[in-house]
């Protein structure tokens, strides 16, 4: 690791001011679980001049409810989300997603804000500098996306453009299905961005000097919720595909359904066509299968990731039917945080 200036932020304003002052050459440190990989492997051009510790900002880890909206502070630990009674009651899919991240140890350190803002896992992008030098690519603005013609087994099947890395966040998928927004603070004050709109093929919508400060989730009555994650191993792995479903069902008929797909695109993807199809339908295996087909109808797999489409369809179908995701998929080891 190389030397850097370490700053202690005690307020949002202070953190924003520091970010602005370093003009893009500073990094926020909350849990640090993703940041330290960057500092050690140095896969990005340049090295941060400053690390701004935001762990000391008071109150930024609060989870509460006010006037039909649940707010989750960006510094709330993933284990705090997965243990929250309020969230468990209102948004079980989010609790399941938070509990599906990494391992208990990491969830005790990693924050939900960091989980949402973490960098992509593309192996070309993250190739460590000390074994032959980092790899230039579209996301870094200095080369083509090597995954297109290379090993793209974990890359996007939907919505890739220039860069085919996928959003690795589990909580983003649940939050997208819950219609959540991110409150972003910056030099110009606060603004809101829908979670599903937060991600872009080359990064996210944070402008220079901005940081995510909290999540707002509208309280709605979609009691049937499920988060499903498919990964090669249960703990400490990123999703190959994940799915979050939130639905309300009256007398066996679906009155509303929201479906978000994860790890298949640069951000979580809402399956609008499938959601419309399900409205007014019974949640039968046939309808669930049809909805799964519709959810993936726009998929354009690369040379080696067509299998992700098959897995995604299975996960959508099973999540709608309330079945276990199967294999290592079932929202990981949720419960270990309790």
């Amino acid at each position: 690791m190389r030397n850097f200036e370490h700053l202690q932020a005690t307020s949002i304003a202070g953190a924003v001011a520091a970010l602005t002052r370093f003009g893009g050459k500073a990094r926020l440190n909350a849990g640090g679980t993703d940041l330290f990989g960057l500092l050690k492997d140095q896969y990005l051009p340049g090295f941060p001049d400053s690390i701004i510790n935001i762990k000391g900002i008071q109150g930024l880890d609060a989870i509460g409810e006010e006037r039909g909206t649940v707010t989750v502070g960006a510094l709330a630990k993933l284990s705090e989300l997965s243990r929250s009674h309020l969230l468990a009651e209102r948004f079980p899919a989010l609790v399941q997603a938070a509990g599906a991240v990494a391992s208990p140890q990491i969830r005790n350190v990693a924050t939900v804000g960091g989980n949402l803002c973490q960098d992509v896992r593309c192996a070309y992008y993250r190739y460590p500098s000390h074994v032959g030098g980092a790899i230039g690519c579209a996301r870094k603005g200095n080369g083509p996306c090597l995954a297109v013609r290379g090993d793209n087994r974990y890359h996007a099947v939907l919505g890739g453009r220039k860069c085919y890395a996928v959003c690795p966040s589990d909580t983003a998928v649940a939050l997208a299905a819950l219609d959540a927004s991110l409150v972003v603070a910056g030099p110009e004050g606060e603004r809101r961005i829908g979670v599903a709109e937060f991600y872009t093929p080359l990064g996210n919508r944070l402008e220079r000097g901005e940081m995510v400060v909290r999540i707002e989730i509208p309280t709605s009555s979609l009691p049937h919720q499920r988060f499903a994650k498919f990964a090669l191993r249960r703990p400490i792995d990123f999703a190959i595909v994940s799915v979050a479903v939130a639905a309300s069902v009256t007398d066996g008929v679906c009155t509303e359904a929201r479906i978000a797909l994860g790890a298949v695109a640069p951000g979580p993807v809402r399956a609008g066509e499938a959601e419309s199809f399900l409205r007014g339908k019974r949640l039968t295996p046939e309808h669930a299968t049809r909805a799964a087909e519709l959810a993936l109808s726009g998929a354009k797999p690369l040379s080696r990731n067509g299998y992700k489409v098959a897995i995604a369809k299975t996960l959508v179908k099973r999540a709608l039917l309330g079945e276990a995701a199967g294999g290592a998929g079932e929202y990981a080891d949720v419960g270990l945080d309790r």
């Binding site: 090597l146 090993d151 249960r234 299998y307």
Partner: protein, 762 residues
């Protein structure tokens, strides 16, 4: 022996257990010394390139930098088999190949200096695939190796070194067969054994030509031999072995890192420590050779194999020290599991622009069988032969013979392992679960279960030479001098148990020397499964020799013959009249007694592991879950029950069973870079996902040494991968012939993947 053992077969705490769990053990990276420098390597971004120009002047000016070396500066030291690979060369041959070396007063300075070295490359076309590499016109990794074919000789094994299996008349054999099948299968996913401790070394070069190496190596005497071959036999070289944080066969070929440290120490005059980062460990250290086989097998209805012919392509990467030896041992091992009179099996070693290969547990046999057994299975399927019946029929039986690594014919004098196979089958419920080839044992909606069985045996349990000294001090203590490092198996503690039985001493009265090549005799080290029989025999012989010398000194004092005497707890007594006794010290307080033991290679015994697995396949996601493993073996007398259990439970990771499930090193075909050189992306089983493991261990009297034991450590991983392929194929009803069985491959086999080309060889 009617007498009950005090320690053998009993649970006894390992000598180093408390130190390991409390962090008191000094591993290589814990060592500190005055003026220690830290060495780092500048690594190539290209899989194949010439260095047109290299400018180190800026790096040399950085404060704290004590040496910067490029190919133009280093001695002409060469390693590999044959010795073609310069420690730094004008040509780089894989991504991560060493371009320059830096030694500095801190790691940070050394890393900063690497960034100040300017290199201009002429990029050459690279070849990464072994079948591409042997095509005419393929880029040559070494100009000297025409067609990228590496010479097959391994000098240590002599002129007869096996490069294949050739005997009988295969044409006639195929005529006699009821079915002849032909197929191709590869074990090319480069599963990495990844010991927790990365390779590391400290080297101190003192003029003139005196070198001390502190090394994390599995076998210091062998390490010394290999390194001397690189830096010159004229160098006064001593190797100090240390506790090793896991090796799994990999920390035998560590000469490259050691030679870097030697060169930097020679240039700086100070000790230089080099420890690979985890990423360097995964991306640049030696890997298991790739194995790809096209073979034809003739089989009779009763499971008799009438002929085997084929070609075994072995991918060695940019070089290797041990691939030829792995082929020789593998060719021996394939005969242990396939009793057949007619063979025409040839091998070819192919070099490519990826990491060097090295020794890894399974040493040739695992590589060969993983590629060969799926082809055997095709024949079994055609004839409806239960693979358990096949294994029982075809695994070596007393009186059978085989060519072993040196090309000599050996007659097997060990036991029939069928009883262990039967008991394993019973424990597993094989007869209930086996429903025939390509048939699941149960179906539950999209979930299908399948079973498989594999076998592995190795006559390496008695390979190579071990020597030991045993020093008795007449105060009633003993010290074993052995050049064996502790690399996780607990064997150093086991030798003390054996010696305690021979000398009748309490265990706490016996100690063991450091594995220092200047004070210990030669030992090939705990490689393969030779620790129990080969090394154990040397330790036992040294103890017996010392005991005899002790009794010879005591005999006149007790007025008795040596044969009439025995010793227990530091007392020497007349067996017929135990009251006539003397303490050891009676032979002289100023006397040291030294016993010497030597084990000569014996290739007439083999161990055997049969592994049964049950998997569940989710046919809608392609996920394969390992539900249960039963390992069945016969270890002879068990020396250390918990140690054995640890070995058997280690069947999964470290490139064992999991190399068929998800372990793989992903080499990017476009750039030659390894894309998963970290423990997140290199999938590695965690404790949260252990399947049920049951071990069946028989204790037959095997004619090894006085305790009638053989080692089974290495083979615990090797039987499993083929069993997994078999089980998954049976579960889904489609043959899978590539490792590992990822969701991608399973879904492709089930035709559930739309779009582009899927699966296939990695």
């Amino acid at each position: 022996m009617a007498k009950e053992y005090r320690y053998i077969g009993k649970k006894v705490p390992r000598r180093d257990a408390v130190d390991i769990v409390t962090g008191a053990v000094n591993y290589l990276d814990d060592l500190r010394m005055a003026k220690l420098l830290y060495g780092k390597v500048l690594r190539s971004p290209h899989p194949h390139a010439l260095i047109k120009n290299i400018d180190k002047s800026r790096a040399e000016k950085l404060e704290g930098v004590k040496a910067v070396l490029t190919w133009e500066d280093v001695p002409d030291w060469r390693g590999g088999t044959p010795g073609m690979t310069r420690i730094l060369d004008r040509k780089v041959r894989f991504v991560g190949d060493a371009v320059a070396l830096v030694a500095a007063t801190t790691e940070e300075i050394a890393l900063a200096a690497l960034r100040l070295i300017d290199v201009e490359y002429e990029v050459l076309p690279a070849v990464l695939d072994i079948e591409e590499a042997i095509k005419p016109g393929a880029p040559l990794v070494y100009d000297e190796f025409e067609g990228n074919i590496v010479p097959p000789e391994f000098p240590l094994f002599g002129p007869g070194c096996l490069t294949g299996v050739s005997m009988g008349d295969v044409a006639q054999g195929f005529d006699e067969a009821d079915v002849v099948v032909e197929g191709t299968c590869g074990y090319q996913n480069l599963p990495n054994a990844i010991p927790p401790e990365p390779p590391g070394v400290i080297a101190l070069w003192e003029e003139p030509q005196r070198v001390t190496i502190w090394a994390s190596t599995q076998a210091p005497a062998v390490d010394r031999m290999i390194l001397a071959g690189v830096i010159g036999w004229e160098v006064d070289l001593k190797v100090l072995g240390h506790p090793v944080g896991g090796s799994f066969g990999t920390k035998i070929v560590v000469w490259q890192l050691e030679s870097f440290a030697c060169a930097l120490s020679k240039a700086s005059g100070m000790p230089v420590k080099m420890v690979l980062s985890k990423e360097e460990h995964l991306a640049t250290f030696v890997l298991r050779p790739e194995s790809r086989m096209n073979a034809k097998v003739g089989m009779k209805r009763d499971g008799t194999v009438t002929a085997v012919s084929g070609t075994w392509l072995v991918g060695t990467g940019n070089h290797s020290t041990t691939t030829q030896a792995q082929i020789a041992v593998g060719c021996g091992e394939i005969q242990l599991m396939t009793r057949c009179r007619n063979w025409d099996l040839k091998s070819a070693i192919v070099c490519t622009n990826r990491n060097a290969s090295g020794s890894v547990r399974g040493f040739g046999g695992q590589e060969l069988k993983c590629a060969f057994v799926p082809i055997l299975c095709l024949a079994m399927e055609k004839l409806g032969i239960d693979p358990l019946d096949f294994i029982k029929k075809n695994f070596i039986k007393p009186g059978d013979g085989y060519f072993w690594r040196d090309g000599s014919w050996y007659q097997y004098r060990g036991i029939d392992y069928s009883p262990a196979m039967d008991q394993g089958a019973e424990r597993f419920g094989w007869r209930d679960k086996w429903r025939g080839w390509l048939r699941p044992s149960s179906v539950n909606g999209p979930l299908r279960r399948g079973v498989g069985v594999g076998v592995h045996g190795n006559a390496d349990i008695g390979e190579d030479v071990s020597e030991a000294y045993l020093r008795l001090t007449t105060d009633g203590t003993a010290t074993l001098f052995s050049c064996v490092t502790e690399h996780g198996t607990g064997q150093r503690s086991n030798y003390l148990k054996m010696i305690a039985e021979v000398l009748g001493l309490p265990l706490e009265k016996i100690s063991i020397s450091p594995s220092d090549s200047t004070i210990t005799p030669f030992d090939f080290g705990p490689v393969g499964s030779r620790g129990t029989y080969a090394i154990g025999s040397a330790a036992i012989a040294a103890a017996e020799d010392a005991r005899r010398k002790l009794l010879e000194l005591a005999a006149p004092l007790l007025d008795a013959g040596v044969e009439d005497l025995d010793t227990e707890d530091g007392m020497i007594f007349v067996k017929a009249d135990p009251d006539r006794c003397l303490p050891w010290i009676a032979v002289g307080h100023d006397r040291t007694i030294l016993g010497y033991g030597r084990f000569e290679p014996d290739f007439t015994l083999a161990n055997c592991m049969t592994t049964f697995v049950e998997v569940e396949v989710d046919t809608e996601t392609g996920k394969v879950t390992l539900l249960e493993v039963v390992n069945a073996t016969d270890a002879g007398k068990i020396i250390d029950p918990p140690g054995l259990e640890g070995q058997l439970n280690g069947c999964l990771g470290a490139a064992g069973i999991d190399s068929a499930l998800f372990e793989e090193t992903i080499v990017d075909r476009g750039t030659g870079r390894i894309l998963n050189a970290n423990l997140l992306d290199y999938k590695w089983r965690t404790f949260a996902e252990l399947p049920v493991i049951k071990n069946v261990v028989l204790e037959s009297a095997i004619s090894s040494h006085r305790f009638r034991a053989v080692g089974v450590g290495e083979v615990s991983t090797a039987a499993g991968p083929t069993a997994i392929l078999m089980a998954v194929s049976n579960a889904i009803g489609v043959w899978l012939v590539e490792y590992p069985v990822t969701p991608e491959r399973v879904l492709a086999a089930l035709n559930r993947v739309a779009g582009g080309p899927q699966g296939g060889a990695a």
